[in-house]
């Protein structure tokens, strides 16, 4: 069956620029899978896209309740796409709970596709609806009510399969329908089904997928189908990638590119666990994973591996990152290379572990006793996680220092099409162990980087001891000499400061000076870029920069900040970077803060931009 044999009789095809669809249902309904498959087809169809999965916090919340609703949003377009979109154009809701949890997000008069079979009085009650909401929704939305359960069973009636298994396919019926509605190719999904299932299960899924498609062609409920033309995309080979997968692959890649084995110590924690899972699959790259008894052991083991000459790395999220701080301080003091990856989640304390924030920046910078500086890099998109890790390892080894990488739950789970880099063009940071016993001192410093030598066990003549007590520069012997202590503290700080020379000058999106600069960092890149793009399209004089390097800052940051009347710093926290900028550059940067466990909406950013452009410049 070719998806290109289109245009059923009596139907209209309409071309649109962008669409955002949200698939929602009970966590047992397979929404994540449905969304992922739709994403793949969309990517193959040549659109730009951005996605956002939204899992329930519980493993298996009671069926049909709000707590159990799972969602997956995809935004695709023939133009550039930066975010999964504030408001979906289309909501697919498998049950009343899914409808209730998501309907308020749908854009006015958007399309709402529901499984009408699921609107029983019992399930309405489970969802907390006093009465059937559909009648009242029909005025405000384009309601498409499909007896999905029945149609799906129908499609399978002559197959030897029990009803429960049959019902579990219905997400693929819906998927087929959506493929028809948006003219998506279906082959990749079919291939995937064939690689995953066999026998009746395979047959059932293939059948309902095609039945859904066919239903689209025939039903009168959907008189129009839509074409989203291909986007202008940079040539190359692409794949979808989530931030967590990109982190994991970045870890594997660092080992390959630096020709040194990787040792990952980790303790499971949402939303960082998948990085451990993913890396654990690559033992054949010589990568070792160690599931430790806790976060402390995980980082300590990674430091041990670094001392022994491997690329030590540890992955975690907020509360686990807190626990790692004492050992991170030791890594600073012993000047060993190490990468610490914190996939931020909504807090404080346990908070909302499956929700989104970017509020561990201060923790990364200041979470240790005394003055204990570490470089910090924040990834700005799922695919960027890959490069960020390699960059972090390069710094760690060149400057003999731990480096912190910040991601967040949003980047971790959302996926974007990612242009696969040519391995040959990836950086190959050098790893050089010290060998020369004659001229060895544990704290002998490279004059350019201030790094001490990496002298690993097994090298004759370099036997030495490191540790957390204050050490004499040079020999590394324990020393309480007051001036030496101050010198060492300042050397470590200076070493981190010198990393600024590795950082390319930051580029301004928009005019180089003017009324308003928007400055974002890390995972809010998409939303801010989209908002500023829109604002400028609307004729607003707004420029934008985005920071991936939080410590040290890019060298030209101060002069950029001073070139604008106002600087707005949107952050998914209560104002962390903005304080750093104010303290460092004495510019009255303004915070825009949101701590709802959700990303910025483009409309929120636009509103704030409008507000600021309307205001007088404050003195």
């Amino acid at each position: 069956m070719s998806t290109m044999s289109r245009k059923a009789p009596g139907k209209t095809v309409q071309q649109v620029e962008s669409v955002a669809i949200r698939f929602t249902g009970d966590s047992g309904d397979g929404m994540q899978l449905t969304g992922t498959k739709f994403t793949e087809s969309t990517a193959i169809a040549g659109n730009e896209l951005s996605t956002l999965p939204d899992y329930p916090a519980e493993i298996r919340a009671p069926v049909g309740t709000l707590a159990g609703v799972s969602g997956f949003q995809i935004h695709f377009s023939s133009r550039s796409v930066r975010t999964p979109a504030d408001h979906p154009d289309v909501l697919v809701a498998f049950n009343p709970a899914a409808l209730r949890a998501n309907i308020d997000d749908v854009r006015p008069s958007g399309m709402v596709i529901v499984n009408s079979d699921a609107f029983t009085s019992q399930s309405l009650k489970r969802a907390g609806y006093a009465e059937d909401p559909r009648p009242s929704l029909r005025d405000r939305y384009t309601m498409v009510e499909i007896p999905l359960t029945r149609l799906n069973r129908e499609a399978l009636k002559d197959l030897d399969i029990n009803m429960r298994d049959a019902d579990r396919c219905k997400n693929f019926f819906a998927l087929g329908l959506m493929y028809w509605l948006y003219h998506r190719p279906m082959e990749s999904t079919e291939r995937w089904l064939e690689s995953r299932f066999k026998g009746n299960v395979l047959e059932a899924n293939l059948r309902v997928l095609r039945a859904g498609y066919a239903f689209g062609e025939t039903t009168e409920l959907l008189p129009v189908s839509y074409i989203v033309p291909k986007a202008k995309i940079q040539p190359g080979t692409y794949r979808n990638i989530t931030g967590n997968k990109a982190l994991a692959w970045g870890i594997v890649a660092a080992g390959e590119q630096m020709n040194t084995d990787v040792f990952l110590g980790a303790y499971p924690i949402t939303p960082a666990s998948e990085v451990l899972h993913e890396v654990a699959r690559y033992r054949h790259f010589g990568v070792k994973t160690f599931q430790a008894e806790d976060e402390i052991a995980a980082i300590c083991a990674a430091i041990g591996a670094s001392f022994a000459g491997e690329l030590g790395v540890t992955t975690t999220s907020g509360p686990g990152f807190v626990l790692k701080q004492e050992a991170l301080g030791l890594a600073v003091m012993t000047e060993l290379p190490l990468v610490v990856i914190d996939i931020q989640r909504a807090g404080p304390s346990t908070g909302m572990p499956t929700k989104i924030e970017q509020a561990d920046l201060m923790l990364a910078l200041y979470g240790r006793n005394s003055d204990c500086p570490v470089p910090v890099i924040a990834a700005q998109s799922p695919g960027d996680c890959f490069y960020t890790v390699i960059e972090a390892f390069a710094w760690a080894v060149k400057y003999m220092t731990p480096v912190v990488v910040l991601s967040n739950g949003h980047l971790a789970n959302s996926s974007e099409p990612w242009r696969i880099p040519d391995v040959e063009t990836l950086p190959r940071p050098k790893v050089e162990y010290w060998k020369d016993a004659e001229n060895f001192l544990p704290y002998r410093r490279d004059p350019a980087t201030l790094a001490r030598p990496w002298a690993i066990p097994g090298t004759p003549g370099l036997e030495h001891r490191i540790g957390g007590l204050a050490k004499l520069n040079g020999t590394g012997n324990v020393s309480y000499d007051p001036r030496n202590n101050e010198e060492m503290i300042r050397l470590r700080a200076e070493k981190v400061a010198r990393i600024a020379s590795e950082i390319p000058p930051i580029e301004i999106d928009g005019p180089e000076s003017g009324e308003l600069l928007i400055l974002g960092w890390g995972g809010t890149y998409g939303a801010i870029a989209a908002a500023v793009e829109t604002a400028r399209q609307n004729g607003k004089p707004v420029s934008r920069i985005h920071l991936r390097h939080l410590n040290p800052f890019p060298k030209n940051l101060g002069s950029i900040l001073r070139s604008f009347d106002k600087v707005l710093v949107p952050e998914l926290n209560e104002g962390q970077l903005v304080r750093l900028l104010r303290a460092e550059f004495m510019v009255p940067a303004i915070g825009m803060n949101k701590v709802r466990g959700q990303p910025f909406l483009i409309e929120e950013l636009l509103a704030r931009i409008d507000e600021l452009l309307g205001e007088e410049v404050s003195p």
């Binding site: 193959i44 040549g46 990749s188 202008k232 040539p235 190359g236 080979t237 692409y238 794949r239 979808n240 692959w249 890649a253 390959e256 590119q257 040792f263 110590g265 690559y282 033992r283 054949h284 790259f285 010589g286 990568v287 070792k288 160690f290 430790a292 008894e293 806790d294 402390i296 052991a297 300590c300 083991a301 990674a302 430091i303 041990g304 591996a305 001392f307 022994a308 000459g309 491997e310 030590g312 004492e326 050992a327 301080g329 030791l330 696969i420 880099p421 391995v423 066990p457 097994g458 090298t459 004759p460 370099l462 036997e463 030495h464 001891r465 490191i466 540790g467 957390g468 012997n477 324990v478």
Partner: protein
């Protein structure tokens, strides 16, 4: 590797650092004996790594002319795990104290032992926090008066070996700081053991807990106070005039008084066996308490089973055999991809 190590002596393992222990501290004797054993192990000096936490005992690495890490309080086994798991070619020794290893560090000890990673753990048990000036530790006897327990400690002590056996330790032993010959023998045994080898070393702290182990440190009283374990030999102790043995039934130990010339085995005395699969026998020995029973000294348990580091290396090697050495290009291109051509 060079084989210059064959000529090494204890002196080669000495650093130029001033030793910071109090005069009379048991740590001196332990250090001297460790330095004496090292040259005999057939390992180049550069392949030794000593890892410690924080405490008087944890200063140890500074005095060993090997690679060394003086880390943070309680975490030495975790650092050591990273060293050994990444570099099984190294000989990794953890030095820790009763506070470092069993108070703040109890959990890492537990998990390191259960994983059976091939390292040696030397636990210096002086039953007190030395470095922080004399608070009671998790091995201190109940009722001990210290700065932090002016009315007497109300914490029941842990027995380090019972704890280790509860974690499934494959090698546990007990030594005495001042009995150098015996200590050296156990150090060699620990080194030879594949897997985590834990030696509790009874150590005197003359400043904050003097004479805690006097009964077994003193050569005279040791005869009656200690039970020297020898594989295959009956559990017999005491002077020639007053020989006694230990029987064990249902895990319950009893002292059997032996007549002159009596065969202990016939009298029901248990025969020591380091290699029982179940840790229950060794645990029964570790549960013997003074003054009702003698304090066993020597190797309680030594059973062999695959080590964590070997299993990990095995998985790496196995994965390469099964899947071929990883190719980054292939990884990046695995699964669904699509190509956008030049327009």
């Amino acid at each position: 590797m060079t084989d210059h190590f064959s000529q090494l002596t204890a002196k080669d393992f000495t650093t130029d650092q001033d030793i910071r222990w109090c005069p009379g501290c048991g740590d001196y004797s332990i250090l001297a004996n460790v330095q004496r054993v090292m040259p005999d192990l057939g390992i180049p000096r550069e392949n030794f790594v000593f890892v410690s936490g924080i405490g008087c005992s944890s200063r140890f690495p500074y005095y060993m002319n090997t690679y060394g890490m003086h880390t943070i309080h309680g975490r030495a086994p975790a650092f050591a795990t990273g060293v050994k798991a990444s570099r099984p070619d190294l000989s990794v020794w953890v030095v820790t104290g009763d506070g470092d290893g069993l108070s703040i560090g109890g959990n890492h000890m537990l998990h390191t032992i259960r994983r059976n990673i091939d390292i040696q753990i030397l636990l210096f048990n002086n039953r007190v926090y030395g470095l922080t000036k004399g608070q009671y530790s998790p091995t201190s006897q109940i009722g001990m008066y210290t700065t932090s327990s002016p009315d007497g400690s109300i914490d029941y002590p842990i027995d380090p070996l019972a704890f280790a056996l509860g974690a499934g330790a494959t090698f546990v032993a007990r030594a005495i700081d001042v009995d150098g010959a015996h200590l050296q023998q156990l150090l060699r045994r620990a080194h030879d053991h594949p897997g985590t080898a834990m030696i509790e070393i009874l150590q005197n702290c003359p400043v904050y807990n003097d004479n805690e182990w006097a009964e077994v440190e003193d050569r005279k009283s040791r005869i009656d106070a200690a039970l020297v374990l020898e594989d295959g030999e009956p559990l017999v102790y005491g002077s020639e005039d007053h020989r006694r043995g230990i029987s064990l039934h249902d895990g319950i130990a009893r002292v059997i008084e032996l007549k002159r010339g009596q065969d202990p085995i016939e009298a029901g005395v248990a025969v020591h066996n380091e290699r029982y699969q179940t840790p229950a026998y060794a645990f029964a020995l570790a549960s013997l308490r003074r003054p009702d029973f003698p304090l066993p000294i020597g190797v309680f348990r030594a059973v062999e089973t695959a080590t964590y580091d070997a299993l990990l290396q095995g998985q790496v090697a196995g994965a390469i055999v099964k899947r071929g050495a990883g190719s980054l290009h292939d990884l990046l291109h695995s699964g669904d991809t699509w190509t956008v051509e030049e327009p």
